[in-house]
């Protein structure tokens, strides 16, 4: 601790903390994440971050929204990098607050690379990634000695019908691992077909969980074969996690969470972006 304080006093240069905000409920950020938000001079945050966390910041903290919103134009990754470097160069201690964990589907790696290339000191604060929250609040142990000894987090963002997909769905179908799909609601039908074609039975238990742990939590349970229809019928949309595997069957007895006891996660009044835009 002493060393860290000395570094700060010695240098006029600021720094950037890449902080995971966790899955939505503000109580599910880490103690360190909350402390850094309370002390920082600038807070650069995403759309999935619970707005209540902004209230923790100092009155003089510069809060800047750079989030992506479905169907709208968003800040480019390059402009976000420029912003972080510029704020740190002003000598500010900057928190870059990202939904979930910064190093799991969060482009935190790209932002760290940009900071490193610019010579800006940074730290990384891990967090509860969305799949862990989906498991906890839907009552699904992602691993279990009697069911699964592995769990895979995989992006459903790529179109599985396109040739250039880097994801080997055929191999994942045979892995025996619990599968947790991120950003997959829109492509669930195509992904489920591809997994079934590769041999994963259509009867495999599957569940979609949206806004896990908050007052807006919705979950839909079914099978690999029918979940995409049930999700559509329930009107469940992004952001959600899809869990596929035998462990999902445990949800029947272990489901314990009532959304009416969950934290609010209001997102109705996102501020305007101030950065160059791109299609996202």
């Amino acid at each position: 601790m002493k060393k860290r304080q000395e570094q700060k006093t010695d240098s006029l240069r600021g720094c950037v903390h890449l902080v995971g905000a966790g899955p939505g409920d503000p109580e599910l950020i880490t103690v360190r994440g909350r402390r850094l938000i309370e002390n920082c001079g600038a807070l650069v945050y995403d759309a999935l971050v619970n707005a209540e966390m902004l209230n923790w910041a100092r009155p003089d903290c510069r809060c800047i929204f750079v989030g992506k919103q479905p169907g709208q134009r968003c800040a480019t990754q390059e402009s976000i990098g420029d912003l972080l470097v510029a704020l740190a160069s002003e000598g500010l201690e900057v928190v870059r607050l990202k939904g979930g964990d910064p190093f799991v589907f969060g482009r935190g790696g790209e932002e760290a690379q940009r900071l490193q290339a610019a010579g800006v000191p940074f730290t990384v604060v891990p967090a509860v990634t969305a799949a862990l929250a989906a498991g906890a609040f839907a009552g699904i142990p992602l691993t279990h000695r009697e069911h699964s000894s592995a769990v895979t987090f995989v992006s459903g963002h790529e179109d599985p019908r396109k040739g250039e997909s880097t994801i080997n769905w055929e191999v994942l179908a045979r892995s025996g691992s619990t599968l947790c799909l991120y950003m997959a609601v829109g492509r669930l039908g195509a992904i489920a077909q591809r997994l079934q074609a590769a041999g994963l039975p259509g009867s495999t238990p599957a569940c979609a969980v949206q806004w896990a742990g908050t007052s807006r939590q919705k979950s839909v349970v079914g099978t690999l074969g029918n979940l995409s229809f049930r999700v559509a019928a329930a009107g469940l949309s992004s952001p959600a996690i899809i869990v596929i595997g035998e462990v999902v069957s445990l949800q029947q007895t272990l489901s314990w969470f009532s959304p009416e006891n969950g934290a609010d996660h209001a997102q109705d009044h996102l501020p305007p972006l101030e950065l160059p835009l791109a299609d996202c």
Copy 2:
């Protein structure tokens, strides 16, 4: 919140919170986890939990150690379940504090099943699982748009040379997913051989990270082919996470953490067990 309080007042029955303590640094527990520890009437904790967290508990809180220590006899899973049910039946609010996340290789699922069967109300508080901390503090983005769109957490506890292993290492070797091995240090040589035999190149970057984020953090970088020798040469032991995949190469530029700035994680004076013992 109102509803939850009413439930408590209405019933003499206690409840159990299955709380993940995170990877070791006490600041990496969630805000909710810390609050529940501060308020509970009984705290049942594991060997991997940072002893500093016990200081957060009320003076009248009953703190009970049920941890596993390598090479020693430990409390049986059944006796831990009995204890949780008994404490809740006394009307206590119980925190069952487990290293990492309760639903990732933590037997949290089994404890939840036991509580459910006994009619004891429970909640689950997710946490930073060890692999997320290893990535954050070793400077390894577990996913990255240019390298990997999936990450798999897999138990290395089973002997891969035994026939009864439920893990399909051959399939995992071809998945293109970043692999994070838990509890694998003792079997790393055999696992690495099996992954290579299945086609994962011996030149694949690989890294072992012990006690991530604490003053005791040690990491060893190498390749799938040579990591087990380097780990042995460095004297690195459990608990550690092994990360295998192209993303490990990013560690060369993104490594930012100095253990001398990390939190202490003293474990020298674990208390005696008071429960029936088994070989573990």
